[in-house]
């Protein structure tokens, strides 16, 4: 491997070298061979590793486009000889779990119904909390925040049952609003951290100026801080959309079977023991479930990275 400086220069040099072969005689030979071998190794390794990472996506796609007879004959990696969208249609509307045969569509709409209020509510509560924690500190506020942060490290299994009891007492156990509440609660540590750190990075003088201008708690939040913080709201949204969409544990515990989110529905379809295994339908279903977070991921690009980095490095 070469030094960054060398590599940057090499790229340009390689482009120019073809036209400059004659002048090389005067300057002595360039050490380009060794460098390009390094480059070949570097890119070679990266490409091979990329293939490993891309393989499952490829397998999902090709399998979901094959018919069952072709699958039984071929292997998972072979491209489809005859492309069919039958498995997709079946996965969406007919695939059976142990209980019903509505396909994934039911899970999809359940997930949407869970996702939207959960994302909105968790971000609303967390952004206000983060704002209050960073700008309106009072004695003890940091203690509560520390307890909240520790919640991020406690295995969910420890808190699952007490939450069941709490929800039962509130009459929300097994309902969608109960699950929304659970997602809000367990999204808090990371989101509050995210917002608190972001608001703390805004110039404190802005807050002081607004106080002198007579703005109160909500006015400063809505008129000054929130409009400045669009990127962090987007980051939080990406974090929550993927996180809540991908959730399995809470969905399986806190909802009834007819309200299972897509991940639970998917697992029940694929791992149901009844009937013949239809691998193409299974893969179509898997791909369908992964489509929402994948879309979010590829559309959001850098913001997604920023979200996980912010959540991870500071956590």
């Amino acid at each position: 491997m070469a030094n960054p400086a060398t590599l940057g220069a090499t790229g340009a040099a390689m482009d120019a070298s073809r036209g400059q072969m004659s002048s090389d005689h005067h300057r002595g030979p360039r050490p380009k061979k060794a460098l390009s071998r390094r480059n070949i190794m570097l890119y070679g390794v990266l490409i091979v590793v990329s293939l490993y990472y891309l393989l499952p996506l490829y397998v999902m796609i090709v399998t979901s486009l094959k018919g069952m007879p072709e699958i039984r004959m071929g292997n998972v990696f072979g491209p489809p000889l005859e492309v069919t969208f039958e498995p997709w249609a079946k996965a969406w509307s007919q695939a059976c779990t142990g209980i019903n045969c509505d396909g994934l569509s039911r899970g999809f709409f359940n997930s949407v119904q869970i996702l939207i209020p959960s994302v909105l509510m968790s971000i609303a509560v967390a952004s206000v909390s983060g704002y209050a924690l960073s700008m309106w500190k009072f004695r003890g506020s940091e203690v509560f925040f520390t307890i909240l942060l520790m919640g991020a490290f406690i295995p969910y299994q420890v808190m699952i049952y007490p939450v069941v009891l709490l929800l039962r007492n509130m009459g929300l156990f097994g309902s969608l609003s109960g699950l929304v509440l659970v997602h809000t609660v367990f999204g808090m540590p990371i989101l509050v951290l995210l917002f608190r750190n972001y608001f703390a990075s805004l110039p404190v003088e802005l807050f002081k100026a607004a106080r002198v201008d007579g703005a109160g708690f909500w006015q400063i939040f809505f008129r000054i801080m929130a409009p400045m913080s669009l990127p962090i709201f987007v980051v939080a949204m990406i974090l929550q959309v993927t996180g809540i969409w991908n959730d399995f544990l809470f969905g399986v515990i806190y909802t009834r079977p007819d309200q299972y989110p897509m991940t639970v529905q998917l697992n029940n379809i694929v791992n149901s023991v009844q009937g013949v295994k239809e691998y193409n339908v299974n893969m179509a279903a898997t791909l369908l479930t992964g489509l929402v977070p994948l879309t979010v991921y590829f559309v959001s690009g850098k913001l997604f990275v920023r979200g996980i980095a912010a959540g991870a490095v500071k956590g």
Partner: protein, 313 residues
């Protein structure tokens, strides 16, 4: 609103003599405190309260419903004499150790490769990170399919003529954890790569210039200079990986269902089946308390390094 209330209390203050007390802390900017009530309630009731509740009830003989019939350490005795739990712990230890090493090594190597000012860095990064956007269920199911003995990797290699080739982690209890590990690494390394890359980008360019002037080979610079400088990043990554490993559940459910037999059971799954499957709440509480304990054992040295270190600096 906050302003009006405080102005009111001010008027009262202005009239008071110099010895008068300040307004109550609670009443100053009351809105900022009201806004924090949800967070405080969550922290205290769910996180703190829930944890304490579970630990307390792990010392009872709760079955279908929680009840406060003290049973001492009986649940823990039973837990540690249950083969399924022992297997779970062993599996988690194996998976945890391998995944920690694997994730750190792969994550750092990929980050270092990407940090060599290469072209298409964004494309490579997107490819390495996209699995992280997927749920464990999706990951587990797709790897279940790739590792299918008949049509997957084993079938293909046999099809090439190597009839005796055997790689069937999903049906072989001895290597099933490695099958999970392949999927886990596929999903989780991208995140660590991102953290490592951020760490590498935070290192002063002049370090590289200096090592180049000194004629130190690149690999040696990484091992002797860069990695020691990135100690905090490694610690963060380690804590992150560790806290993820303890939660390992969805992947197992989707990919192996704990099988074959009980050979890929993990503690989180044990807790779930004790609580919601076999209606043995006490066992579930005891098992989850043990999970908490393991997290605490991981976190305390980290907290010491992080916060003890700051005081020294």
């Amino acid at each position: 609103m906050a302003v009006a209330e405080d102005a009111g209390s001010t008027g009262h203050r202005a009239a008071a003599s110099s010895g008068a007390k300040r307004p109550s802390r609670l009443l100053r900017n009351p809105m900022s405190k009201i806004a924090l009530v949800p967070m405080i309630a969550i922290a205290l009731v769910v996180f703190l309260g829930g944890t304490v509740w579970t630990i307390v009830y792990s010392f009872t003989d709760s079955g279908l419903l929680p009840r406060l019939d003290w049973a001492g350490l009986e649940q823990y005795d039973r837990l540690w004499s249950t083969r399924k739990w022992i297997v779970s712990i062993q599996n988690l230890a194996l998976y945890g150790f391998a995944s920690m090493i694997g994730t750190l090594v792969i994550g750092f190597t990929l980050a270092a490769l990407l940090d060599r000012k290469i072209r298409f860095e964004g494309v490579f990064r997107s490819i390495f990170l996209y699995p992280f956007a997927l749920s464990f269920i999706v990951t587990g199911l797709v790897w279940q399919w790739i590792l299918n003995p008949q049509f997957g990797v084993q079938g293909i290699v046999r099809g090439w003529g190597w009839e005796s080739f055997s790689f069937d982690p999903l049906n072989n209890p001895n290597i099933v954890m490695w099958g999970l590990l392949i999927a886990g690494l596929w999903q989780g390394t991208g995140l660590v790569m991102c953290i490592m890359l951020a760490g590498l980008r935070g290192i002063d360019e002049d370090i590289w210039k200096a090592s180049r002037v000194d004629g130190i080979p690149v690999w040696k610079t990484y091992i002797r200079v860069i990695i020691p400088m990135m100690r905090p990043v490694f610690v963060t990554a380690l804590v992150l990986i560790a806290s993820g490993i303890v939660k390992l559940y969805d992947l197992v459910v989707a990919q192996t269902g704990g099988g074959p037999g009980i050979s890929s059971e993990v503690p989180a799954k044990y807790v779930m089946s004790a609580m919601f499957g076999s209606q043995n709440l006490g066992q579930g509480f005891a098992a989850s308390s043990m999970m908490l304990l393991s997290v605490v054992i991981i976190l305390i040295p980290w907290a010491y390094l992080e916060f003890g270190g700051k005081k020294r600096g």
